[in-house]
Amino acid sequence: MDDRHLTGLIRGAQGGDVASFAELLDLHYDAIYRIAWKWCGHRTNAEDIAQQSCIKLATSLTQFRFQAAFTSWLYQLVISCARDWQRSQQRHEHEELPEIDRTPDGAAHPEDHIYLAQLIEQLDELGEGMKETALLVHAEGLSHAEAAEILRVAESTISWRIHAIRKAMSKPEPLMSGGI
């Protein structure tokens, strides 16, 4: 998709054109869902987050000023929605096992999903912002500068976080479970 078309869609949607907004949604739903899924590692939760993000997109698209890439702006929005979603879930959170994909599309490997869920958990334990950093830099392939802009921190902070994540991940994880 070329930039001009995208810009046209955004401008149209900002002006209140429903068809433009609908196309914009269609174009970006998968990306929104993908980020959400890598953020939480769980399909239905990711769907919830994606829905919240779409709704948020509807209300805040007018604030997009074309000063950054639309995708960067979108990352910011999804991550923010994901965090809010997490907060709203907190009170009735239960340990849930990662849901293994039922659809036999051949591309998904259940063990990958379990590993991803574990990764997410480890990243969460590393502290605030670490997961988001790993998500943007490693999963989405953004530069440290881009990630810094999205997460509103200094670029050096991103570099430090990436270093800390790598260090933590290379440590073997002590296992607390097992047979008696």
Binding site: V18, E47, I55, T59, Q63, D101, A108, Y115, P174, L175
Partner: protein
């Protein structure tokens, strides 16, 4: 182990295909929102006098406009149509007679744009704050959540301080507000959606506490979590009134569902019988928590049997004080006591008791204490057995501290923040005054509660002293860090710095035992459940030295059974504490801590070789079991006990070893203690379903326990006997 790096995995993990229905739902909801936000924007431009505007104006616009819409596909149209129906329902409810619900819309001046970093997320619409009149109390508070979406501070803008609001709410905490769920739902789905709303209604107060009248906001009634029961709503009228009841706080929600407790316990399976030949070594971590017993007691006192996962047998056993001989010196802070007796619930089986009593720190040796009380003062704590009990408990604790020890108080909820800077205990009046001035109110997280508590503890850090946070709550963990794993990681990192965390649980209905356990375990602390002032006295006064002064950390126990003498074994309890065999010698693996004077008791049930009580048959292809009489002299042992521990300031573990002799028997001096702990173990297992307790009955437990009461200066053992009677009754009902 991992074929690819985590980076690679993060990049290339393929998400499962999203449900097409979910996709459609998201699109519908977003389009409806889009429509509405653009239409209300247009109407705002037209409207000359914005005050007194009601939602129905916007609604009329919406309906009028929806007709004129080009319909690119019918899905949108039906989505919008159903959104309208839902909105009508909401607005009808809004205008329901007999209730004075008025929300005044106030325009706030546009926030200073310099607050927006990088200028790219400027606010276009002036945010509107719903101001709630204090006298309107909770009806109005509820309606704040019905505020139209686009009138909230939009996102993703940089945090902006809004005038009037004491704390900037996260602009989106209320995205799942009932109104919104209803708005996007087709009419015929409203009933279904309503159940989701019901589940989420408890989130509502979180989104409104930033408002000035937050103190008058009352907690929602404990929601009934069981919403699977069918609620059949047929006519439109009924539907409306159903929604009305659902949304209205003062009209009782008359869903026909039983009030189910929302106390959360993590599920676990009880330890199975193991064959010594297959798995001769059993490893677990020490556990001195007693929360399970108090919780079980509370339930039984109310005449109900506790849920099975609330029963942790080891915590019930460890609730009681046993006279295991204590160690004399601080360097080897405890010594094990091992006894062998006949199992009362399995003929031909034996029980091995392993008792550990921690060294009791004499008063003069006590290190300085730097204590930070982190108290939940949210609205839900407003029950006699919650905040008031916590306050009285803390007052009791003060009496046990030295005059140079310091206490600080941090609260979280409406009145978030530091209530009392670290104050020496000799200023007891000041501390008591601060403590007693706390009142439950408000409902949201005082955002950085836990961080603030740690900050205070670190600021006042005592190098050779005890630095500990005491968290008291009824289970709401809105302490600032909302992600459970992140919270765990945070507590862990703080532990490395020397600040530990203990947990005191209060009340019921919302008690999060699972989180309490996780936090206390990661924070090198104890988790206790306080149901009465008596319990507070036990935990905070009698055992204060134990809960405050750690004498050994990462205490792990390992028993290797002798296949020549033992055929099968089973560890009673400690399911949540098992460790891998290799973890025993790995000093990196965290385990339980033992405080000054703490006692830990573990019970194994074994089936000696040759006994008919065996559950697992011999393997066909292995030789018959040899009779005892092995010339190497180990035939006289059932097994070998190893205990690893670290002194509080060391990171290298020490080892204690001791054989378990077949003829160990039970010394007369501790006979009653062995019998009593056996009775408690039997009772715990019965409550968990009694899979391995044969024909053991409550009657039998009562008989055993009554015969082993001993001195019992505080009456805990007598109380236990009463409790078993109550269980007997509760079961009969």
């Amino acid at each position: 182990m991992k074929p690819q790096s985590f980076e690679h995995h993060l990049r290339h993990a393929i998400p499962p295909t999203p449900d097409p229905q979910a996709r459609l739902r998201a699109k519908r909801a977003a389009l409806a929102e889009f429509e509405r936000s653009h239409l209300t924007r247009a109407s705002e431009l037209n409207a000359s006098a914005p005050t007194g505007r009601t939602v129905s104006v916007g609604l009329l616009h919406l309906i009028r406009h929806a007709r004129k819409l080009p319909a690119p596909n019918c899905v949108w149209r039906s989505g919008i149509a159903s959104a309208c129906v839902a909105l009508i329902a909401v607005s009808v409810m809004w205008l329901m007679p007999g209730e004075t619900r008025r929300v005044q819309w106030d325009y706030a001046p546009p926030p200073n744009s310099s607050l927006n970093r990088e200028g790219k997320a400027e606010l276009q619409n002036p945010p509107i704050i719903t101001q709630i009149r204090p006298e309107e109390g909770h009806h109005a508070a509820h309606h704040a959540t019905l505020e139209p979406e686009n009138e909230r501070p939009p996102l993703p803008a940089a945090p902006v301080s809004l005038p009037r609001a004491r704390k900037t709410p996260s602009p989106q905490t209320e995205t799942l507000a009932p109104e919104q769920v209803a708005r996007v739902a087709p009419a015929e789905e409203i009933v279904v959606e309503a159940t989701r709303i019901q589940e989420r209604i408890q989130d509502v107060p979180m989104s409104i506490t930033a408002l000035p009248s937050s103190n008058s906001v009352s907690q929602p009634p404990p929601p009934s979590s069981n919403v699977e029961e069918a609620v059949v709503v047929t006519s439109a009228k009924e539907r409306r009134s159903f929604l009305g009841r659902l949304f209205s706080r003062n009209a009782p929600v008359t869903l026909q569902v039983p009030q189910e407790s929302r106390d959360t316990f993590e599920h676990f399976e009880i330890n199975p019988v193991k064959r010594v030949k297959d798995e001769p070594v059993s490893t677990f971590s020490a556990d001195v928590d007693t929360a399970s017993y108090s919780f079980v007691r509370r339930q039984l006192n109310e005449g109900v049997l506790p849920q099975k996962d609330a029963v942790r047998v080891e915590e019930m056993i460890n609730y009681f004080d046993y006279a295991w001989p204590a160690s004399e010196s601080r360097d080897q802070p405890f010594k094990p006591t091992v006894t062998v007796s006949d199992s009362p619930w399995g003929e031909g089986k034996k029980l091995i008791h392993i008792g550990i009593k921690g060294y009791e720190l004499p008063v003069r040796e006590r290190p300085d204490v730097n204590l930070v009380l982190l108290l939940d003062v949210s609205g839900s704590m407003n029950e006699p057995d919650k905040l008031p009990l916590a306050q009285r408990s803390m007052a009791l604790l003060l009496d046990t501290l030295n005059s140079t020890d310091t206490v600080a108080i941090v609260v979280y909820a409406g009145a978030a923040g530091e209530v009392l800077a670290p104050t020496p205990v000799k200023d007891k009046e000041t501390i008591l005054q601060a403590l007693n001035s706390l009142e439950p109110g408000g409902s949201t997280a005082g955002a950085e509660g836990i961080k603030l508590a740690y900050e205070l503890a670190e600021r006042n850090f005592r190098k050779n002293g005890v630095n500990r946070i005491l968290l008291a709550t009824d289970g709401d963990f809105n302490v600032g860090i909302t992600n459970r794993n992140e919270l765990k990681g945070f507590v862990e990192r703080e532990r490395e710095k020397g600040v530990f965390l203990s947990f005191l649980g209060f009340g019921e209905g919302n008690y999060r035992d699972d989180i309490a356990q996780a936090l206390a375990q990661n924070g090198n602390g104890v988790a206790a459940y306080i149901d009465t002032l008596n319990e507070a006295r036990k935990v905070l006064v009698q055992e204060s030295t134990a809960s405050l002064f750690t004498i050994a950390k990462d205490v792990k126990l390992q028993v290797e059974f002798n296949p020549k003498t033992v055929a099968e074994y089973r560890l009673v309890g400690y399911e949540k504490r098992k460790l891998n065999r290799e973890d025993f010698n790995n000093d990196k693996v965290d385990a339980g801590d033992i405080g000054s004077g703490h006692a830990v008791t573990a019970i194994y049930e074994i089936t000696p070789v040759g006994s008919k009580a065996k559950l697992i048959d011999n393997s066909r292809y292995e030789g018959g079991e040899e009779a005892a009489g092995d010339p190497r002299g180990k035939a006289g042992e059932y097994g070998f006990l190893r205990i690893r521990y670290k002194l509080p300031d060391s990171s290298r573990s020490k080892l204690i070893e001791q054989p378990i002799r077949v003829d160990a028997g039970v010394p007369e001096r501790i006979k009653e203690d062995v019998n009593f702990s056996t009775a408690v173990a039997g009772f715990g297992q019965l409550l968990r379903g009694g899979n391995y307790t044969g024909s053991l009955t409550y009657e039998e437990v009562i008989r055993q326990a009554s015969g082993a009461i001993g001195k019992d200066p505080y009456g805990y053992r007598k109380e236990f006997v009463e409790l078993v009677r109550k269980a007997q009754k509760a079961r009969g009902m």
